[in-house]
Symmetry: C2
Subunit: 419 residues, 2 copies
Amino acid sequence: MSVEMRTPIPVKEAIESVIQVVKHKEPFTLSVEESLNYILAEDVQATYDIPRFNKSPYDGFAINSQDSQGATGDNRIAFKVVDHIGAGTPSNVKLKNGEAVRIMTGAPIPDGADAVVMFEQTVENEHGFTIRKSFEQGENISFKGEECREQDIVLDKGQQINSGVIAVLATFGYQHVKVFQKPTVAIIATGSELVGPKDPLEPGKIRNSNGPMIEALCRDINIETTTYEIQEDNLQGCIDIVKKAMMQHDIVITTGGVSVGDFDYLPKVYEAIDAEVLFNKVQMRPGSVTTVAYKDNHILFGLSGNPSACYSGFHLFTKPAIQKMMAAQEIYPVIIEAILNEDFKKANPFTRFIRAKISFSNDGVYAAPSGFNKSNAVVAIVKSNGMIILPSGTRGYAEGDKVKVLLTDHQSYERALNL
Amino acid sequence: MSVEMRTPIPVKEAIESVIQVVKHKEPFTLSVEESLNYILAEDVQATYDIPRFNKSPYDGFAINSQDSQGATGDNRIAFKVVDHIGAGTPSNVKLKNGEAVRIMTGAPIPDGADAVVMFEQTVENEHGFTIRKSFEQGENISFKGEECREQDIVLDKGQQINSGVIAVLATFGYQHVKVFQKPTVAIIATGSELVGPKDPLEPGKIRNSNGPMIEALCRDINIETTTYEIQEDNLQGCIDIVKKAMMQHDIVITTGGVSVGDFDYLPKVYEAIDAEVLFNKVQMRPGSVTTVAYKDNHILFGLSGNPSACYSGFHLFTKPAIQKMMAAQEIYPVIIEAILNEDFKKANPFTRFIRAKISFSNDGVYAAPSGFNKSNAVVAIVKSNGMIILPSGTRGYAEGDKVKVLLTDHQSYERALNL
């Protein structure tokens, strides 16, 4: 048996090759209540102006500004209050000279009024109030349509439905919305060493942790998963289960079996099902053997069986693909600069991703490895909310150095990641 | 009628006053599958060492390092392969001199072996392989317990259950876990101007958007909500509904009715139910009249009826309180530095929070207001993933200035926010 030679490609190129083949899913219509986190498949128009009518942004008195001209501290001008309205109740009054309407925040400006005097700017008396300054036309008024006009596009196709979108849809009375379907994900843990949560732990065995971890990673981004039975290292069994999973899901994530070991059957599975392997070696540590294959709009992520490598592979490749399939615009991991909190002396022959705790403080952003840093580490993932990125060809990082860090709970528009 | 005078307190002090009164809820036990995002109410111990046994981190051959001493390019040492194991299958062989076991990643190191030779380091022949360098004891071995030992505390009480925690719990075979209950939230939109999504829009009316927005904000952090009927500005009705909501929920969020207008009944509601008002005026724009009150472990958030102010109030006060009640350690908003992408000329008499789009790029972090910047703006929330913070007493910010920004989808340990 000889060792298969693979050509490692740069991380950035690997990510782009995944993004390039992935297509978004078809749109469908669902109720606004169920739409949170989906991506809009249509532009949404304003069904009326916002504000819907000229309204008062303060509690005070609506006046005609002309009546206020000439008011000074020595020449206070008096107004008679002829009506009293709160939000939701238009006044039936049309102001005459010297008249005012007591008006609350959000209430429509009455006919004949063109300015609002705030309570603090008045001295009240029995029939009304006096003021000591003149007001301009339009002073203290929120004008009809000043935020947007009827028929304006207020939500763009491609926008993720967040709390603000929900507020806008509610504002305009929309009850249904057209969104892109989300991909569904199949999870298959492979490896004869793996047992389930309740199975006895025979010698040489470990419990499957990658499967539950990936379920959780998907749930974090509101993606449904189906977990298949753990697969022993058995070629025909793996082919059958991957085929079955592909028929039922857009994305099939396997863990383990992607290296060049004698029982690493995933490369043979891709061959057997005639999937195009986009790459099977990436210039990164851990997870250099991470493999992505593609067939008929289905994408197969062959993630490492080592938990830290599996975790990194998910964030670098699977999550952006999921985002693209659900038609999101922000599909790439967010990378920011941080100050290293610890020395990291090792050489980095490939780009190194270190599970890290990123802390945000008044002094700046800091990053420290979050625990034991090996491909097979699992506990180190717990305290990580990001990954330190050390470029290939570097070594000897010291506390205080500036480094790039990837935030695992953000996605970005930015394509040009220097990975 | 006279205007009630309120004393505005700094934002930071307001946040701290909320955090101070809030207590976490009681723990309970639930299945690991349901536990994502809850906070651990107990330390969790390793039930075995990780790695569980000495294992091979590579595909190659397990040897006794002593047999390799003296190997060079000119003096290659030969090994005979006597067994072949994959992960999950311990070898029954005990190595004798000059023997090796072909071993795959993750498989247990056989008896008598103390080093692993990677495939790339060998030349294979009919009965085995030769090597050209000597190996040290322990070379290329992942040692039993090198990540953690049995009975080590691997998860700390207070840790949020993320994908890494799920992986650790799965690794150790835990099927149930003790976590803190999450608070439940009641949402009550108040204001005679508000109508529901299907109601006709009479003059002076607008549709309730704050209620659905807050539901979505809570769902984003996996908190269940109950939405009550929209309340007209009616004192007794408001008292009754708030009382009812308090009996059923830990947190009651109202929108509207917190200012000093004639129909702003929330101050009177707090009085009527004998709740302690923590503050009713904050040195911030928008949302300066945001009010928080407290009674018998129930907390009442009187958020503004203006969408942008409501949104800001939720992120500044409600979200940290929810995090604390569910016993999270990371309860505060994350604040980082960004470069302003646009001029912002207005004066900032109070600390100003501007709904903003924060962009992460290779050049750095940029922030730009995400739309029309008024308290009652709603569309501007859509594109915001943060808020620009302009301190009180400042004015005349220009494009290129460094500013603090709050990331609305992160929480932090950091207490000392310079707000």
